[in-house]
Point group: C2
Chain length 327, copies 2
């Protein structure tokens, strides 16, 4: 099949593109490198089925140069420092960007998939969060440029589904980690991994008792591929319900890289959700899906790859060792 993927140079987008290309599909990737990385494009261009167009999807989507079976909309800054630095671009890619992608799908008779986010739940009052939970979001706080953009993106996706009969999917991505994350994305996993590899103290915002669920990127991509095969238009959570506090997480990474490092606490971030954990009962029943990569293993894979990226020598967690089954 032939797929147009926005945000193909991003962390999740590039992994999804790799998976689709590996299955033999054709992918037209679009990115403006606002937060995507050229090196991800470079990797993808090694596949003959990949074509890349540098463009801002909030302005216009390129002519895909042929028929399309799917439009997958993954473009958006996704980490707090990036979207707070680019609040208006973030709002636009949720609104105009999503609409351009929907219009393209409509024009090509393609199906459409929106990458939404657990941020639509905001600072939730219900734990874990099922898809039926409406969320608890500050509509005009400093995170609203992302949260409200994604809620809007869901609303317009459903409007195209209801009003135009477009075949649509919505995934709500919970925290995801793995290779190809930007070193400066400001999220806990990359912060901790890069701090640990640099031998610096690990910095935790607030007491660190806010929890996160961490899903390895390959699990997420598997969920996306399964949902593409099921005609279900409502939102579907994709995340790992195993809950860790941010502090636990800092300790896990520190111990995996440099056990002697200090963990230091900074003031809490504004509107930082205290707890968020997916209820994945829907994905289990609809897709037979559940995360399979244990946190420790995923972290080891990520750390090994980040070591290579930053030019550090491999350790016991070398890429070769990681191919083996682990207990």
């Amino acid at each position: 099949m032939r797929v147009l993927l926005t945000g193909s140079a991003g962390f999740v987008g590039s992994h999804l593109a790799t998976r689709l290309l590996g299955e033999g599909h054709h992918v037209v990737g679009v990115d403006n490198y606002l937060s995507g990385q050229p090196r991800n494009t470079a990797q993808l261009l090694e596949w003959p089925g990949f074509r890349f167009v540098e463009a801002d999807v909030s302005r216009a989507l390129p002519d895909p140069g042929g028929p399309l079976d799917w439009v997958l909309h993954f473009a958006s800054p996704a980490s707090p420092p990036h979207y707070q630095e680019h609040p208006i671009e973030t709002l636009m890619v949720g609104a105009q960007g999503t609409q351009n992608a929907l219009d393209l799908a409509l024009a090509h008779g393609a199906q459409f998939l929106l990458a939404s986010t657990s941020e639509v739940y905001g600072d939730p009052l219900v734990h874990p969060q099922p898809e039926t939970y409406w969320g608890h979001v500050n509509p005009n706080g400093v995170r609203s440029c992302y949260d409200e953009a994604k809620r809007y993106a869901e609303a317009i996706t459903m409007a195209y589904h209801r009003h135009h009969g477009l075949r649509t999917r919505i995934i709500r991505i919970f925290n995801t980690y793995g290779p190809r994350m930007r070193a400066d994305d400001g999220r806990v996993v990359t912060n901790f991994v890069h701090q640990a590899l640099r031998g610096e103290p690990l910095t935790v915002y607030g007491a660190g008792d806010q929890t996160r669920s961490f899903q390895y990127v390959d699990d997420l991509v598997e969920g996306v591929r399964r949902l593409m095969g099921v005609p279900y238009s409502g939102p579907v959570n994709l995340g790992n319900p195993d809950e860790y506090t941010v502090l636990d997480f800092a300790r896990l990474i520190r111990d995996a890289v440099a056990p002697g490092l200090e963990i230091v606490h900074l003031p809490p971030a504004q509107d930082d959700p205290q707890q968020r954990r997916p209820d994945i009962a829907l994905a289990r029943s609809l897709l037979g899906w559940a995360p399979r990569v244990p946190l420790r293993e995923g972290l080891e894979r990520m750390i090994a790859e980040v070591r290579a990226e930053v030019g550090l020598p491999a350790t016991a967690f070398s890429p070769a060792a990681l191919g083996q089954a682990r207990p």
Copy 2:
């Protein structure tokens, strides 16, 4: 001063324009008549300070033909039957429309005011609703095309304020009634008034125990004018905290027009909020504002004007009588 007002042919927009023109200001009105009414424009064109441009603010705003002190963004379908018939246009006027209006204000060094709505509170779990309440909104239900569009509009307004230093205001308008509402807008006040004047049974959705606060349009316009004089960028509720059930309301209108009429019940509307009532402590302290027109008096003024609009003879509630002070 010189003002560009989107939605000038709408119910609230046209009253606000009349007020500004009456104060001697110049108003450039913009509307595409998706839900606005040409007869409102016709009335406004009797003022020499009024200029009208028919345009879709989601596509582009017209050249205002001179300097601007304010951009007031009131364009949007606002009643459930209208926005559900035009979900995509409603989403667009909240996103692209708001952004076009913000960009125009920025380009002219003008201030900006967004007409937001109590719908950002959704089906609230807190009563009454202060501006600090984050709301309880279904991000992909049938009302989401309006609710999420307005939440997005608030988010992008705050983003322009924070990021560009634009001087902005946000009002959250609670249910408002008065002359110039569309007969087919589907909201309880107009439904009941028109049903009563036609001698038909009054139709209530569900048991009618959902409550609404009803503010007379002149009170709202007074609140807008006061907020324009105060540099406060956060959202400000403008509504009447006097709470009536929809059923009480049906009875009040029936008794004012035709006491013998029947009240019938229909199935509840989907996602219809059960209760909504403004906390106006902020408007009181910030603006010295509170609603002044009692419900009964406002209804009498409205009924008299609607009688004239539909060609019915005046009753005791004639326009002449309504100019007098009432107890």
